[in-house]
Symmetry: D3
């Protein structure tokens, strides 16, 4: 089984870190094929950026889909998830959606803890988009934005533990999602300090990608696929997928 | 007052038709500045296409924002509306959202009637995104997709009237929105045949753009703007807006 | 274009202040025809009062509808809005609903800031009635009721700015509505002090009334109009409208 | 125990019929004090009429509250229910709300069957106002409006049975409410023909009024009561209640 | 009229206290038949315990249903309420549901105040199950769990009054439910200290049981009853009910 | 990895069929340990039966939890899922919930197709309990109940395909869940005949159980666990778990 891990951010070190965790979770059950966005932004943090990076992600998927059994869109806001599901005949997993669905199967109410207040609105919208807002107890973040996002897992670790504990005690969460690619890998490190199940979104995404691919679902001939379209300015591979249609 | 009418579709004749109606509604109160997508698709009809065309629309806005008082994203699914609102310091109006909000002020329950079943899911999601699903009675369409979208308003006019009448009688709608750019201008032609208020989305969008611009709201210094970001591969104007940040 | 501005409160000075702002927004595009309730209450602040003042408002509209293109019910709880829409063949705008719909087109999440905790429950219900509760971050007010409502805009200005800033920082609002007729005109004065779009409901109502009237919608023959009814004890004009029916 | 049965409609024969059923349900446990609206409409069937008749009902209650232990607003749309609860220090029961709450305790999903399509939208809104829309399977009615509302229970009895059976079989209702004062008394006549619990709203309202009064709740000093207000044009009794305030 | 008061907890003193209050409310209108769980738990406080105690309650009802006009499941989380309604041809009242429905007829927004934070999640789910979450302002409890649940009403009385007052002032509740069997009887003692209607769930349940039984609804032949089933390991009486089916 | 497959129904042939499919999906990645209810019902089809069988399932789990990495409750209504999650320190997967969550990651809107109208209400409630009702297009079933449930997959196969096709064409589903243990294995047989992804709930449950177990989450010390309780009448193993508490 081969899983395409699409990082719509341009930061290679994030891709490397996520691929490392992905391979631990896959544990030989799947080959991880990581790719990093060739253009766009170092780290997506807004709807405007997700609009643009999501379009780039569609091209990245189309260009690398050969022999792939499942795709992970490895950015917490799941840019272009709905569009990718329309176009491609394999399971497409969003990192945020996978974390949320996984959380909802490991407990009753989940919280998201992340490294920056800048992400709160977007992450909240992500949860709403999954349909599971009724089981969501909210986002908790430090009060100020970190200038150095890359080292967030190291620099605000104690804050994140404290926030996770408050999510449990004050908000009633029994599952805590550590949101955002810069926190990849932190869940296992802090889980003993938090009286709840702690979820690493990239781990959840890999577990879900393998689970979905193992079902062997038939995606061809789906009635929901877009009708065939001509296009202008797209990569050849993406233009070809869109030209084919339902 | 100058209003930028952004058609994220590549079809110039649609832009022309919408600009004509826009100028009728503006009636001298505003100058209409229409632009047509230079790349993308002839006519957006899926989430995948909206992902891509929305990214193009952000560049179209950034490139043409000088001396503009309000922006209309003139495609019924409102591609990149959330992102455009984050980035630009003027009112940004989505054609679907404007139609829905207008409908909710002209009656209690609104329906969307459109020319193709292909649009149903996307339009339904658009209404959910506005938050007004509780006042929505659903989408009604002919059973099959028209190959010639451009002449939909002429070719399926009788069907659309019948569908609108059923939306009133069977679904309880007291406002009917004629969704999709190809139906621009049809509302006034058929309103006497439908026992409900009938809305033309481009007309509603123009009326709302003028209304919002007339309030003279202050958009600078909004806390919700994305933080400054470097980028790669964007148009110079869009990159500059994103580089500036909140 | 002539717009009937119906103040269901008996306080003439409120009517005068709202008419002044209305004329600024109309800016020559419409004539404002203000009327003040001849009976009822100085200032409506409960559902019981809205029940009674709303019935009076229906008579005020029926008595003054000649040559009118749109009606504004100029009290923040929108008394009798649903009933007025059933009866009259012109756009009817509620001040609260117009503010809420306008807010939802200028941003993503809106808050209401007002001068008294007494209004909180009613205003919350107003938002629910619009259908847009999912985009609402709540009402913020000073802790105690002002005895002198008329000068609220002057007396608690600093408090209101602080509340608006908290609505942005703590509740995630990017639009703040200054609710209640006594705050008419305050929005433009404080908007530079609040990192969000600030909305004056009477301004929003006038902008919406002009927008809706500019669409030239056809209201006659709507299937949703009540059937003809005899009545007893109503003003002659209102009785005549109700006697006519659908 | 004395229960004030307020008919906001002007039709005395409806009051008589409802009082008769009320006395059967009360069965000696409570005295029924019926009053009929002195002005307004023969039979309320719209939001506009409910606005006006509700204001009249508040005066009817204030004028007759002496020695009363509970109030029933005996019209299916519950005109002025929220306002009456604010003002008066006894339980106030709405006929629709009581039927809905009772239905929700006798089964899982309830339907409303009534005599005219004219009532559908208003009754649907009534259910939404109770908060129980998620357990509601909708309104079913004959296709056309009866000119003779008074004899609806006799004239369309077979139709109503058939509609109730469809509500069970097609909509999944296990409780059916026969909505509207003209159907008072019909529930017991047809219950053997419907494979569900059948509810007569006036019976439910009386049972609930006795239940609520039997609890002996303390209404004085509630924080939710409106603050004291002067007024103009109200009956002396209502003006006095409103002048007293919280 | 005879009402079966089923305590799914094993604590006889709770049954005795609830029966005493039930008889006060019934006031001669109904005979109260109290029974206590023969196995299970001293006091149910989790979903796991409710799963087990609910199965025991179904047997308790089946074994004691002779000559009974209504059943009360006298534990605040309403264990097995949905199942009991399917099986038995009399009104079945849940103590939590009855309190919630009663609250919604005595005011607009209700809060639950209880003696232990351990109950918060379960009680919140109970309210959601009724469908009335939109009128619910939340659960307030002391911060720590009491070891001696039996004397909660005495030991934390002052705390509960303070919590109820905060529910009114901070959460906007106008009705406060004192949740949990250990608080039975406290409502009348503290109601003068709380500026809201205060509800004792067992009192509400009895009032509702009498109200529902007084309607004389027909439960036989309901289409919603389960189809006949064989079973193994159930009490003879319960097996017989299930063997009979719809 | 060892997965306990708990069939709360007493029918061994169902357990055998589900274990066979489970082993296909596991494909060597996990050992499947199937157990069948020793008492209760041949096939659960109501809330009453789920109440009882769920209590039995808790004992089945407690008695067999040694060396188990994840538990599947293998009945479509997920009896005792919430309770089992409280008590046991491993992932617990409900067959319905797993199917629903999986569906929501393979498409946008899912339908349930099952073999009997008797299941409709319960399955609908199951979806509501997951929180994903907004993405659910409803249950479709044949019009009459099959007397021979065991052979449903064979006897009504053509009907089920037709219902699935209507769920896609009329309801807009892009994923179809074949609900109910008697349909285990049918999904792969009919998927080529349905223009949507088709899900077998037992396959989804196994894939999810492996996914959740692969995350290695820490369940000990969760704050949400019930407090320790004495009990009477439970199996020794279950009593011991409950006696231990949080």
């Amino acid at each position: 089984m081969r899983i395409l891990l699409v990082n719509p951010n341009m930061t290679q070190s994030m891709t490397d870190k996520m691929a490392e965790i992905a391979r631990q979770i896959a544990d030989g059950r799947a080959e991880i094929v990581p790719i990093t966005a060739p253009s766009g932004f170092p780290y997506i943090a807004s709807r405007a950026e997700a609009q643009i990076a999501g379009a780039i992600a569609l091209e990245m998927i189309a260009d690398n889909l050969h022999d792939i059994d499942a795709v992970i869109i490895a950015a917490f806001g799941d840019p272009s998830l709905a569009g990718a599901r329309e176009l491609f005949d394999v399971p497409v997993v969003g990192m945020a959606e996978a974390a949320v669905m996984t959380a909802a199967m490991l407990g009753e109410r989940f919280s998201i803890v992340t490294f920056s207040p800048v992400m709160t609105r977007w992450y909240t919208d992500c949860v709403s988009d999954t349909g599971l807002a009724s089981r969501f107890t909210g986002v908790r973040t430090p009060k100020t934005h970190l200038s150095d996002v890359a080292n967030a897992a190291r620099d605000v670790r104690a804050d994140l533990v404290a926030l996770a504990r408050r999510a449990v005690a004050d908000d009633g969460a029994d599952v805590v999602i550590l949101g955002g690619a810069p926190l990849a890998g932190l869940a296992t490190e802090i889980s003993a300090d938090v009286p709840a199940v702690v979820i690493d979104p990239i781990a959840a995404a890999v577990a879900q990608a393998i689970a979905l691919a193992s079902l062997g679902s038939r995606f061809a001939d789906r009635a929901c696929k877009p009708i065939a379209k001509t296009s202008s300015g797209l990569s050849a591979a993406l233009a070809a997928v869109i030209a084919q249609g339902a």
